[in-house]
């Protein structure tokens, strides 16, 4: 059972997936939660935690799940080379060939109908199941995809930089950067594109001109990135603490980042609430802590789950966090203000 370490409301355990959790995603209205599991399962849970759909979505591991902006469909990505689109009740809509054996990421266009996926060196974009764009000329495997918050451009991170794709005009340039980029995050205001790198650093490009800055000194590679709702704070992992950079004014150059201690446990996932200022961090020992960066240096609340935290998602109105672990545990954490 989930433990409770601080004076926070109790976590509510959801049905165990019996499968390491790869990704969780809330439907835009907060009424459903989709969970992708490593054995290829997609589970859709209702508001009361009841299982509304459970399908064998992929023959190999499922690695990602994402809802369309209107909540009418969701997509899963699998290591069987497929992107599959589903109705919320689990009825299949499309079964798409991603172009390479392992799909890394699937991402719906913000506010739009386009669905993008990265697999190997290939990035494909579909609209209503029809391929509208395919690029297979990336210099290496595309490790992550990220849409501009207004959905006009798509960023693909790989070894040596970021390739930009405009849905209307095709290739839209490349942001060069030595090293292997692992994770991308576009700030909600579209002004900054952040990338976590294998070389234990974070790059941030100021958009649209592409001026860049690098933050180094992390203990490990950085795969954990999260922007706050206003696009002011960037939370980063890369080791056993959370480092928060403040982009207000002339920052973050010349400023000291905020460092939030995790008790020597590696950060595995970060998520800022979609409204307000709360930041959730999942750790390798199964704890989920919630901070209020800039207000308090200590965590507001901490829950403990069995297994390393592998997925976190705030509900759309920032009332609760869905958390999944590598041991297959799922829980709803009442973290809202």
């Amino acid at each position: 059972m989930p433990g409770l370490t601080r004076g926070a409301p109790a976590a509510r355990r959801l049905p165990d997936l019996d499968d390491p959790v790869a990704a969780v995603a809330w439907a835009p209205d907060g009424g459903r939660l989709a969970v992708a599991g490593i054995s290829g399962t997609l589970v859709v849970l209702g508001q009361d935690g009841e299982v509304q759909a459970r399908v064998g979505a992929h023959r190999e591991a499922a690695v990602d799940v994402a809802w369309r902006h209107d909540g009418t469909m969701l997509a899963t990505a699998g290591q069987d080379g497929r992107v599959r689109v589903w109705r919320p009740d689990g009825a299949p809509v499309h079964d798409l060939d991603a172009g390479a054996p392992w799909v890394e990421r699937v991402a719906w266009q913000p506010g739009g109908p386009a669905l993008a996926a990265a697999a190997g060196r290939v990035v494909r974009v579909w609209r209503d199941g029809a391929l509208v764009s395919a690029r297979d000329d990336h210099p290496s495997t595309v490790a992550d995809l990220c849409w501009h918050p207004r959905g006009r451009r798509l960023a693909a991170g790989h070894y040596g930089g970021v390739s930009l794709l405009s849905l209307a005009d095709g290739p839209a340039g490349r942001l060069e950067r030595p090293g292997s980029l692992l994770r991308l995050a576009w700030s909600p205001d579209g002004r900054h594109l952040a990338a976590g790198a294998q070389d234990a650093c974070v790059h941030v490009w100021v958009m649209p001109d592409g001026r860049d800055m690098a933050m180094s000194g992390y203990a490990t590679k950085v795969r954990e990135l999260a922007w706050d709702a206003g696009g002011r704070r960037l939370a980063t992992g890369g080791g056993a603490q959370v480092t928060v950079w403040d982009f207000a004014g002339r920052g973050p150059q010349g400023t000291r980042p905020l460092e939030l201690a995790t008790g020597d446990e590696a950060v595995t996932v970060l998520a800022f609430a979609p409204a307000g200022r709360l930041l959730a961090a999942g750790l390798a020992d199964g704890r989920v802590s919630v901070w209020e960066p800039g207000r308090r240096r200590t965590a507001r609340a901490t829950w403990s789950l069995p297994g390393a935290v592998s997925a976190l998602a705030w509900s759309p109105r920032a009332r609760a966090i869905a958390a999944g672990t590598e041991d297959g545990a799922l829980a709803l954490l009442p973290a809202g203000q």
């Binding site: 390491p20 490593i38 591991a61 290496s140 495997t141 070894y159 030595p178 294998q198 070389d199």
Partner: protein, 445 residues
């Protein structure tokens, strides 16, 4: 089978070998034989695992440079991603096999397990197993650097297709392989038939496993290749012409008698003196007894005068390489006795192993400076290094291993009932035994 007693990490075996050597045959043999292991296979893009194996992943061999200040550090980005993802399914397998393409450099594969903390925490590199086509390797061994690197990196070498090769050729190949990589265990196979305990669970990268090197390999080698005894050096000069190396080191030592025994008595002292900084001599200068000198014969030969009295002249290289002559008033003088020593290395560019074994304690600071500097400067040419060392003030053995510039070392068990001694082995290209021995010797406390 040998186990890592308390290591919960999943072992990884890397299969390398030139195209057609028999990698896929070995891979399929491992997968089909009953051995109680559940194996996840990462095969190369041309791989063809022939059995219906449930966990096979194709890799693209994406070699990434790391930009963290380590100049020659490259890793396999595809392995970081694939293994990171596979480890989420760790309940399904207990061993990982990585098959590389025939032209792959094993360096980045091995370095991946040193550099990526996440992988290092979950997986341990067990061994690099290199399959060699004993029949066809002669076509490539001198021309394809991939072949020599794959042999140099190996913990286990299979000389496969041995049935197609005459016994004499097989013995020649085996001795060639051992000269290149003296740490590897070499097995002769037909159709890749080998006891699986020889390829899985080898512990080639285990620090806990003591370095095992056969004594012949560590028998003394000298930093000189020739010594000649002269009954009186008075009036004699040594003349050296341009040779394959830009310089030659010479040492004259006073000799009790011009005999073979007297020469051998001087070997230890001569070895020590060759470790000193040599004194540069010009044409016409005199050799000082007991002082190592360096001459640089070029288009013009260099002539140096010998000290008087019975003298032994130690020469770094074989005299004929520099057309060396010892000349007196009446013309060339032959030594009364001359001894040749096995050369340190066949040729500078070749891949070889250098082993050093010496009793005594090492000064930790000097060792750190020497080994750190050596790997930083020469790491690109040093494929593997291993050692068990005796540090002054440390009751435990210090064990280390390296892959190129990356280094991993720590104290392990206490010295118990054995002489405290140092054993080091370097495998690399163009290794200079004398330089390595001198550097090591300077670390003795």
């Amino acid at each position: 089978m040998q186990h890592e007693p308390d290591d919960p990490r999943v072992p990884v075996t890397v299969l390398t070998g030139f195209l057609g050597a028999g990698k896929t045959t070995l891979l399929n043999r491992i997968l089909t034989e009953q051995h109680g292991r559940r194996i996840a296979v990462i095969e190369n893009e041309f791989g063809e695992v022939g059995v219906d194996h449930e966990l096979v992943v194709a890799a693209d061999e994406e070699v990434f440079e790391m930009n963290n200040g380590c100049i020659c550090c490259t890793v396999r980005g595809d392995l970081i991603r694939i293994l990171g993802s596979l480890m989420r399914r760790r309940g399904r397998f207990d061993h990982v096999l990585i098959e590389t393409t025939g032209l792959a450099d094993p360096g980045p594969v091995a370095q991946t397990f040193f550099v990526d903390d996440e992988l290092a925490a979950a997986l341990r590199l067990d061994a690099i197993v290199t399959v060699v086509d004993a029949h066809h390797v002669w076509r490539h061994i001198d021309t394809a650097p991939e072949v020599t690197e794959q042999i140099a990196f190996a913990d286990v070498v299979l000389l496969n297709k041995a049935d197609l090769v005459a016994p004499g050729d097989l013995a020649r190949l085996e001795s060639r392989v051992r000269a290149m990589n003296h740490l590897a265990r070499v097995h002769t196979t037909e159709r890749a038939e080998v006891d699986l305990d020889h390829v899985l669970g080898v512990g080639g990268f285990s620090l806990a496993r003591a370095l095992t090197v056969d004594p012949g390999f560590l028998s003394p080698r000298y930093p000189f290749e020739w010594v000649g005894a002269f009954s009186d050096g008075d009036g004699l000069v040594a003349r050296l012409a341009e040779g394959p190396d830009p310089t030659v080191d010479l040492l004259a030592l006073p000799l009790a008698a011009a005999t073979d025994e007297a020469l051998r008595d001087l070997l230890r002292e001569a070895t020590l003196r060759f470790g000193d900084e040599p004194l540069a001599l010009s044409d016409g200068d005199a050799l000082r007894p007991g002082r190592t000198a360096r001459v640089a014969p070029a288009a013009r030969p260099v002539v140096v005068r010998m000290p008087s009295g019975p003298v032994a002249l130690f020469v770094q290289h074989r005299p004929e390489e520099f057309a060396m002559e010892v000349v007196g008033a009446d013309g060339p003088v032959s030594p009364v006795v001359a001894v040749e020593f096995a050369p340190d290395h066949e040729h500078d560019e070749e891949v070889s192993s250098v082993g050093i074994q010496a009793p005594g304690d090492l000064d930790p600071d000097r060792l750190n400076a020497w080994l750190g500097g050596l790997l930083a400067e020469r790491g690109a040419d040093i494929f593997r290094s291993k050692g068990v060392l005796s540090l002054s003030g440390e009751p435990r053995r210090y064990v280390f291993q390296g892959v190129h510039m990356l280094f991993d070392g720590r104290p392990d068990r206490p010295w118990a009932g054995e002489e405290r001694a140092n054993t080091l082995v370097f495998i690399g290209r163009g290794l200079d035994r004398a330089e390595l021995e001198a550097g090591f010797r300077a670390c003795l406390a």
